[in-house]
């Protein structure tokens, strides 16, 4: 299933922050991780991750450094800064509320496709 562009864009920041919250990583590994976790469903042009990482760096949410891998390849590693951790915690709460609400709307005895009937007074 293809996920809409706006939705991917909205989810990109918390996804990246969330993956970096598990520890330092680099662009390719971050994308691999997103692919694994979403079962390959969530997918965007690989290159677009980098402008996002650079924006997070400019905003001070992540820090970067160049690391020489054992194979000799130089990779730019990113990790969460203190600010980034705070923002991530905040975003996590916000997304928690949204997913929880969506879950209730869609799952609590509600059958997809049936009309929503206002109850109560």
């Amino acid at each position: 299933m293809r996920i809409g562009k706006d939705l991917v864009a909205a989810a990109a920041t918390p996804l990246v922050l969330g993956i970096l919250a598990d520890g330092e990583s680099y662009g390719y590994a971050i994308l691999q991780r997103i692919g694994e976790l979403s079962g390959g469903e969530l997918d965007w042009r690989d290159g677009m991750l980098y402008p996002l990482l650079h924006r997070l760096e400019r905003l001070g949410l992540v820090e970067s450094r160049w690391v020489d891998a054992p194979t000799g390849r130089r990779r730019k590693h990113y990790r969460l800064s203190a600010d980034g951790e705070a923002v991530f915690a905040d975003q996590r709460r916000q997304w928690g509320i949204i997913t929880e609400t969506l879950g209730r709307v869609w799952n609590d005895g509600h059958v997809p496709g049936s009309p929503v009937i206002a109850t109560g007074a």
Partner: protein
């Protein structure tokens, strides 16, 4: 893991393509390349060949223009960096630049401090400022001794004439000579710019291009300098301190003189920036000047009033012709050699024709009066300049017509203009050296 040779070549080509994107810094390209190599390795492990892996990996990264746009959105500052000095160009600073800037700035100031009269400083101003510029060119191009001697000789002869001729104070010839000396020495500096290769058409065209871009840079610096001066006056005024001496006696004269060299250096250091501006400037102002000229022609024909035509109008008209020539040269210096004639070339032709019509009308009017009031140095200089420009524009008009009709390539237009530079040189030399003699230095 080493990859096959042809994949390395593919990656190198892809990398060069990315490096040409202005929004991508070299470090970004490094990062993307590491990503691509990771991906290829991964795909190879999954059973693809290296070049299959390369194709898939590049496709997954996204199209280069989209990528570049996305980077540009995040790094909009980089597009402006072209205007700011990068570390690389600052590291390779031209030899003698700082000395030349300081010399130009101090050249107008030192005689002042030593008590030279303001008139003398104005008279020699052109020499004092352009000599460091020419010196800088000679040093930068590593010109040969004969070139240096030749350029130096033009400066020495001009300076000699201005210093040794017994000019009448506040006469016409002294002012004319010092104004024309500036143009003469600018062209001499052009010989230094071309490293003595002044016969070469290409070198002359380069210098024409350089001159146009220099004007743009100088105007930009002057605007900024004006703001700086006004703010300095205002801020110190508000604090109750009088900054007028600082601004009038130091900031403005030294800044104006030093900027001559700074602008010249900027043209060379940041060539690609203004090159994009010249065609836009010509496209804006060519239609506007064409309208002005057409209106002038109509007005001159309707109000055929000989009494109202005087010397001032002739000088104004010279100014208009200089601007028309400038617009023409700007457009010429920025155009693609292979491109065919467009609507813009027809518009230029219209501008040329209307300028010539106006000029001929006024020349007729003046010619009939010049005998009545006698000949003065100013009149001869204004009329001579007018004739020099008229010949240039008639030639340019004929060639432009043939070019628009598709008969000749644009190179012929360039050759006409580059071939005409010595005429300007000769005319200016005549005004500096001969005219004062003819009019007894009055």
């Amino acid at each position: 893991m080493t990859m096959a040779y042809d994949v390395e070549e593919e990656i190198a080509r892809w990398r060069r393509h990315l490096e040409r994107q202005r929004s991508l810094a070299p470090a970004d390209v490094d990062e993307l390349e590491a990503h691509l190599r990771d991906d290829i390795e991964h795909l190879e492990a999954a059973g693809l060949t290296p070049d299959e892996g390369f194709l898939v990996g590049v496709r997954r990264l996204g199209r280069v223009d989209e990528l570049s746009r996305e980077f540009a959105r995040e790094h909009s500052d980089r597009l402006w960096k072209q205007l700011v000095l990068s570390d690389a160009s600052a590291g390779g600073r031209s030899p003698g630049l700082l000395t030349a800037v300081l010399m130009a700035a101090l050249a107008v100031k030192v005689p002042w401090v030593l008590g030279a009269p303001p008139d003398d400083i104005l008279r020699f101003g052109g020499i004092l400022v352009l000599a460091p510029l020419a010196g800088y060119f000679l040093l930068r191009t590593g010109a040969s001794a004969p070139t240096a001697i030749g350029v130096g000789a033009v400066f020495a002869v001009s300076a000699g004439a201005l210093a040794l001729y017994p000019f009448a104070p506040h006469g016409q010839t002294v002012l004319l000579a010092s104004i024309h000396a500036v143009v003469l020495l600018w062209l001499a500096a052009g010989i230094a710019y071309a490293a003595g290769d002044w016969r070469s058409e290409r070198a002359r065209m380069d210098f024409i291009r350089f001159t146009g871009e220099w004007v743009v840079y100088y105007a930009l610096i002057a605007l900024g300098g004006g703001v700086l001066a006004a703010l300095t006056l205002g801020v110190f005024g508000a604090l109750g301190a009088d900054a007028r001496t600082l601004v009038q006696d130091w900031l403005v004269p030294c800044g104006a003189a030093g900027s001559v060299v700074v602008a010249a250096w900027l043209v060379e250091a940041k060539q690609s920036v203004v090159e994009n501006m010249a065609p836009i400037l010509t496209k804006i102002f060519t239609p506007l000047f064409t309208i002005l000229l057409l209106a002038l022609a109509v007005t001159a024909l309707v109000r055929w009033d000989l009494a109202a035509v005087d010397r001032d109008l002739l000088i104004l008209l010279d100014g208009i012709l200089v601007i028309v020539l400038g617009l023409l040269l700007y457009a010429l210096s920025a155009r693609e050699p292979a491109a065919a004639a467009t609507w813009f070339d027809r518009l230029q032709l219209l501008m040329l024709v209307s300028a010539l019509v106006v000029d001929v009308i006024v020349l007729f009017a003046i010619g009939s009066r010049i005998g009545a009031y006698g000949v003065t140095a100013n009149k001869v200089a204004a009329l001579g300049l007018n004739v020099v420009l008229l010949v240039n524009l008639v030639g340019a008009g004929v060639l432009q017509w043939r070019f628009v009709r598709g008969r000749i390539p644009v190179a012929r237009l360039e050759r006409w203009q580059t071939g005409y530079l010595p005429v300007f040189f000769a005319w200016c030399a005549a005004v500096v050296l001969v005219l004062p003699l003819v009019f007894a230095f009055g």
